[in-house]
Symmetry: C2
Subunit: 339 residues, 2 copies
């Protein structure tokens, strides 16, 4: 059964009224690219503006580049809004909402959940988070939602780079219910909180229990830390994408690496690929961009790619005991010094 | 034998003195990427500025994007300067010069040349063009150099998108001598001028005669024109790259295609790849970006990709007899109307 999904135009309607763009650049994620013509027509019909399709990849709300042509706004379909520090032009989000069959799925989750339950959701499912809380409460569970950082569009939302709505309530709950499919977010939530995460996937009939094997994960990461420690040359990757760019952190890491006699350089990259990393030929890399690439797709990058925290451990500036999954607010300035 | 090659820093020295950048973005073509660390060191040592390496592809002087981080200049190694209409920040070029063994190579070319000879060169060899003229003259040949368009850095230079220095003198010469290897530029020069092109390739011991089989080429292109004529949906590609972006031409083509009842959209793309074109799913494309991709790598793009002129033929707005290889100044406004 296909899960029911729909684009939510309400906030876009308001934004178009406010901005009145004459020309927009339309960005679509891979799954929606093929309907580009239809969506361009829809936007022209609704708002009477010119539309230029972007043919480049668009992996998320963070994936925004300074537009190389003059447009009055960027329209991004399929992603929930993200607050970016500096918008080059206004960005109008048209989120894709996917409805989960909550009653049925939560019923299959109940045997695995331990009250109190923290409820979290990915962008496509965030509109159902209050319903999920009500259903849990009706079943006799205590349910909590964390507010999270200002980077998130709503309380309870998690991003691959931001689990703050989960970590904030982790000490007060005994398990998490995640509205959202796939492995990555469940893995991240479990790793950052240490709790079992039960996820509801629109593609599955039953809830999925995910208690991450932290040991296996950490063993893999330790190999990367080892490679960073041994590397003579390190490329410190800064993303070109507006929502993934952390130049200041990259500069901090550069100084730390050079202080420990590494030959290190800042490397600006848009999409991070195996071909690019091999061509540059550094012994190892540290990415300050989306952690998904480092932690999830890392094996496909052909070279060791670590997180900022992993570099600091490799350089002996942070202790292995302090290992925590990468988080967005990471800075080397807050590393606590041990005696 | 490795051809002798060296970076030419003279004009960069002057530009650095004038601009005094504190921070630069360093772009390298594939072949030089691996020496990124060395070049970054060299630039820091010479000019005392911060350097950020670009890890993205850089196919030529035209391949410049608005930098997503604040830098005072872009430094591009390995490419001859190109005059870009609008520079976002100053661009400092450090050309790579490759010396041909002119005496030996031209000696092997003489039996194939017919006086007067037009002399043309690609960017890496342009510094030897006057020597080539002298050697030809000493051998009793008349030799000419065309000035070409303002897009070129020196008289006699040709680009994959600009053969104006050749076409300008085509009617006054009987053959062309090209300082430069590979097939693409020789093909382009022969196609646009209709003359035999003898090319001197740094990788070869003898001159290469190239009299293009125009018929075979045109048959391949006719298949593309046919596909464009039959396509219901057409994506008109505008490049994100500053030196390849021709938005006005793309808009002209869009209007022409829509007037002939095609469902057409402008598509903004940085690097044009098979994956992106397949994902978008248009029946056919027209590229207003670098013609090399369309004409040379076209077969690897998986979908029919035509030039602006080819679209106009497909739409019945230009005659097949007027087929000319794509050239940079193309506009639909100058198409002569036949009775």
């Amino acid at each position: 059964m296909e899960p029911s999904q729909k684009l939510s135009w309400e906030s876009a309607d308001r934004a178009f009224k406010r901005i009145r763009p004459k020309k927009v650049l339309l960005q679509l994620p891979s799954g929606l690219k093929r309907k580009g013509l239809l969506f361009a027509d829809e936007i022209r019909r609704r708002y009477g503006c010119e539309v230029i399709l972007s043919g480049d990849s668009c992996y998320g709300a963070c994936d925004i580049l300074p537009p190389p042509i003059e447009v009055d706004a960027i329209v991004q379909l399929g992603h929930a809004p993200m607050r970016l520090r500096k918008g080059v032009v206004p960005i109008i989000f048209v989120p894709m909402l996917i409805d989960l069959e909550l009653d049925r799925l939560i019923a299959t989750a109940l045997p695995q959940l331990k009250s109190p339950v923290g409820v979290i959701a990915t962008a496509q499912h965030i509109h159902q988070i209050k319903d999920a809380v009500r259903i849990l409460q009706a079943s006799g569970f205590k349910a909590l939602i964390g507010k999270g950082s200002s980077r998130l569009s709503s309380p309870g939302q998690i991003l691959g780079c931001d689990y703050s709505s989960a970590t904030e309530i982790a000490s007060r709950v005994n398990s998490f219910l995640l509205l959202g499919g796939g492995e990555f977010h469940a893995l991240g939530a479990s790793l950052t909180t240490g709790k079992t995460v039960i996820s509801l996937d629109p593609e599955r009939r039953d809830a999925t229990v995910r208690k991450v094997d932290q040991d296996a994960f950490l063993r893999r990461r330790f190999a990367i830390i080892q490679a960073l420690a041994e590397a003579k040359t390190i490329g410190i990757i800064v993303s070109s994408k507006l929502g993934q760019k952390r130049l200041r952190l990259a500069e901090e890491l550069l100084r730390s690496a050079r202080n420990e006699n590494k030959k290190a350089e800042l490397v600006l990259i848009d999409d991070i690929t195996l071909a690019k990393l091999q061509e540059l030929g550094f012994d190892a890399y540290v990415s300050t961009a989306c952690p998904r690439l480092t932690l999830d797709d890392g094996a496909s990058l052909g070279r060791p790619v670590g997180t900022p925290g992993e570099l600091m451990i490799a350089l002996g500036k942070m202790h292995w005991d302090d290992y925590a999954m990468y988080h967005w607010g990471f800075t080397t300035r807050r590393i606590r010094r041990r005696k």
